[in-house]
């Protein structure tokens, strides 16, 4: 309670509107609030706000109205500045230490729990997770320079995508969407398909490898004919292999797509093909989930903080967003932790 800086009488008055057993009148309330208020804006020239109104006013107004401030402002300002420097200094040390500590623990955990490129290990890791998402989404970065692990440029992106696809398939999740702001991957769908396929083979072996479809919104999905799921095995029977769909998203699938939809709807409305009442949430949702992507259950960020970087907004409604603070770069630990976290989450829409 000490943290709030109000007395018991005031707290009670705030909570119940009662002082000494009596209801308060508006006047009494105002009187009680007086000490908490900031200075009146008219008199005290509210130091930094006024800069907005005219560029040269702040100094002028401070000089012309020196009297309303009870305390000498320079001392206060100096105090504020000192305190600010101290706080930011201490915190920056703290943040740096925390980051090193976290990175260290992630590394240790990464060594202890490695997937060893074997689906069985991954299956074992997610064995105890109560519910698995049906649709996982990840955000990848297209980096121009590689500060650390040689994962720069297109090559790095493809490499990351391959690994994530393999983990997703191993965990038994059927749909993976990969968001990358620039959308550069969309230009290389066949190559990406081949690369992921190869990586899946290295995880599962040729015979057990899941079938794969790579697609991007507004394009035909790419699953070459050489990989039919009904390929007869030696026994002559067709084993149903799991299927993985990889969906490539970019910034364009966010705001721009909503704009496109609005443009189309406007054109239709101009021709009289659609009425205003026909535009509702269900229509927008149906269009977007058909043409772009459905709502992912889990969004895994590999960035140190939660910044969405233009991820399609409509689809994010109830998506569980996971990130490991201070983590940098794609690694299995983040993915695994995200799945475990998701298993624990409870979903109560609005309740």
């Amino acid at each position: 309670m000490a943290s709030t800086g109000i007395t018991k009488r005031e707290a009670l008055a705030f909570r119940k509107g009662v002082v000494n057993g009596k209801e308060m009148t508006p006047q009494e309330r105002e009187a009680m609030l007086k000490p908490f208020l900031p200075p009146a804006p008219v008199k005290t020239s509210s130091p930094d706000r006024s800069t907005l109104k005219s560029p040269k006013s702040p100094k002028l107004s401070q000089r012309t109205t020196p009297k309303p401030k009870p305390k000498p402002t320079p001392v206060r300002a100096l105090l504020h500045f000192l305190l600010y420097s101290i706080i930011s200094f201490i915190f920056s040390i703290f943040f740096r230490f925390r980051r090193s500590w976290r990175l260290f623990t992630y590394k240790v955990r990464g060594v202890l729990r490695h997937h060893h490129h074997t689906p069985e290990w991954i299956v074992n890791d997610v064995k105890n997770v109560e519910q698995l998402p049906k649709h996982v989404s990840v955000v990848l970065d297209h980096r121009e320079d590689d500060e650390d692990q040689g994962n720069a440029g297109l090559e790095g992106l493809v490499q990351d995508a391959c690994e994530i696809a393999a983990w997703t398939a191993s965990a038994g999740i059927p749909l993976l969407s990969i968001y990358e702001r620039t959308g550069v991957l969309k230009n290389y769908v066949p190559q990406l398909h081949a690369a992921i396929q190869k990586n899946l083979e290295s995880y599962f072996g040729t015979r057990r490898r899941p079938t794969l479809t790579v697609k991007a919104p507004h394009t035909i999905s790419y699953s070459p004919p050489g990989t039919p799921s009904s390929e007869p095995t030696e026994n002559g029977s067709t084993t149903s292999r799991p299927h993985l769909t990889v969906l490539l998203l970019s910034e364009h699938d966010g705001r721009d797509t909503l704009v496109d939809l609005t443009v189309t709807l406007s054109a239709m409305a101009q021709k009289g093909d659609i009425r205003k009442e026909q535009i509702d949430m269900n229509l927008v949702n149906a269009e977007l989930s058909d043409y772009v992507s459905s709502e992912p259950d889990l969004l895994v960020l590999f960035s140190p903080t939660v910044v969405l970087k233009g991820y399609p907004p409509w689809q994010l409604r109830l998506t569980e967003i996971f990130h490991l603070p201070d983590n940098k770069g794609v690694n299995y630990q983040v993915f695994l932790k995200a799945l475990k976290q998701f298993g624990k989450a409870e979903f109560r829409v609005g309740k």
Partner: protein, 361 residues
């Protein structure tokens, strides 16, 4: 707040006037210090955890919401004193109507009461220079609450220094859909209704009429072609009109099409839909005019957006999920978040600078 049921010396101590005064001074000092660095212009809060707090403290759910409101008042004070321009809070989701009637009613009652109290203190609110805006679907709110809302909004409307956006019954998908709808409506309203005649000296339809006239004079055989176009365009126009008349919502469109019927023959002049951009949609969002969202904070450890500010926060907003419950949220939880944001901001600026430098080289 964790000491709600702990009584005795510590509580008495905390409440004693000198201690309270000192703490207050300390808070002021900290806020003043924070102002020295960059301050987010637009902060959004998801006030989650009131009910869990009530459950853990063994108090009524409604009382938990009350405590949540107190936390809100405290944090608003911090925000505005620190210099945040716009604060957006998720007060009530459209999905929340699924909760028990008792709780919904109590929440509505709380909103009405607090907004009513607020309206009584117009002069005090001017000190903060904050105006209240309610974002959400008004059709879902009872008329008596609407009345309280309108009163509070109008009494603070003249304040320009800061804005408090209260999302009350709100969901982001509803907002986006409404924005799309109103954009479509704007672009399907014919342009040349009120002010355009003065803008253009020559009317397109007049010119086409002239051309047609000339064509008619030149060759009498080619008469059929223009007549055809004459006969098709009014019919399509009538169709459009009947559609618009059917919805009978806006009177302006009806007027437009009616005077077009008697003077023009060409199709109504619509604005080009290709000129719609993300900016257009942005202006149709409920947060139009507000600076971009810098910081979104959700309490109670749930890492989801739950249909809040989707359009606003998916670009460069820092999203922070905190473990503490909303009634526990105060300056002491907010301070580290703000300091970290300032720190990140500084790092970003440094990165941009170095990138600019490397490009220059």
């Amino acid at each position: 707040m964790a000491s709600l049921h702990k009584h005795g010396i510590s509580r008495w101590f905390a409440y004693s006037p000198p201690v309270a005064w000192t703490v207050r001074q300390l808070r002021e000092l900290l806020i003043g210090a924070l102002r020295q660095g960059p301050i987010p212009q637009h902060v959004a809060f998801v006030m989650d955890g009131n009910r869990r707090f009530a459950r853990e403290q063994h108090i009524e759910t409604v009382e938990g919401h009350n405590m949540g409101f107190e936390a809100l008042a405290r944090i608003l004070e911090v925000c505005y004193k620190a210099g945040v321009k716009v604060v957006t809070i998720y007060a009530f989701s459209i999905e929340n109507f699924k909760r028990s009637k008792h709780e919904v009613d109590a929440l509505m009652e709380l909103a009405k009461l607090k907004l009513g109290q607020l309206a009584e203190h117009g002069a005090l609110l001017d000190r903060y220079g904050a105006s209240i805006r309610i974002l959400g679907n008004r059709e879902l709110v009872k008329p008596d609450v609407i009345e309280a809302i309108d009163k509070a909004v109008s009494i603070t409307a003249h304040n320009k220094r800061a804005i408090l956006n209260v999302c009350f019954p709100y969901t982001s998908r509803d907002e986006i859909t409404t924005a799309i709808k109103s954009t479509v409506e704007q672009y399907s309203t014919p342009l040349d209704s009120l002010q355009t005649p003065s803008k253009r000296t020559f009317s397109e339809s007049h010119i086409t009429q002239q051309i047609r006239k000339q064509m008619l004079e030149e060759d009498t055989d080619g008469r059929s072609a223009p007549q055809e176009s004459r006969s098709t365009s009014p019919s399509s126009l009538k169709e459009a009109k009947s559609v618009e008349g059917g919805r009978s919502s806006s009177t302006t469109t009806a007027i437009n099409s009616s005077d077009k019927d008697d003077c023009h023959i060409t199709a109504p002049n619509f604005p080009d839909p290709e000129t719609i951009t993300a900016e257009t949609l942005n202006e149709h969002m409920l947060t139009a005019g507000a600076p971009p969202l810098d910081l979104l904070i959700r309490t109670s450890g749930v890492e989801r957006l739950s249909d809040f500010m989707l359009w606003q926060c998916h670009e460069n907003t820092s999203i922070v999920f905190l473990k503490c419950l909303w009634p526990e949220f105060d300056l002491w939880q907010f301070l580290p978040v703000l300091v970290e944001w300032q720190w990140q901001q500084k790092k970003l600026q440094e990165q941009q600078k170095s990138r600019a430098r490397s490009k220059a080289e």
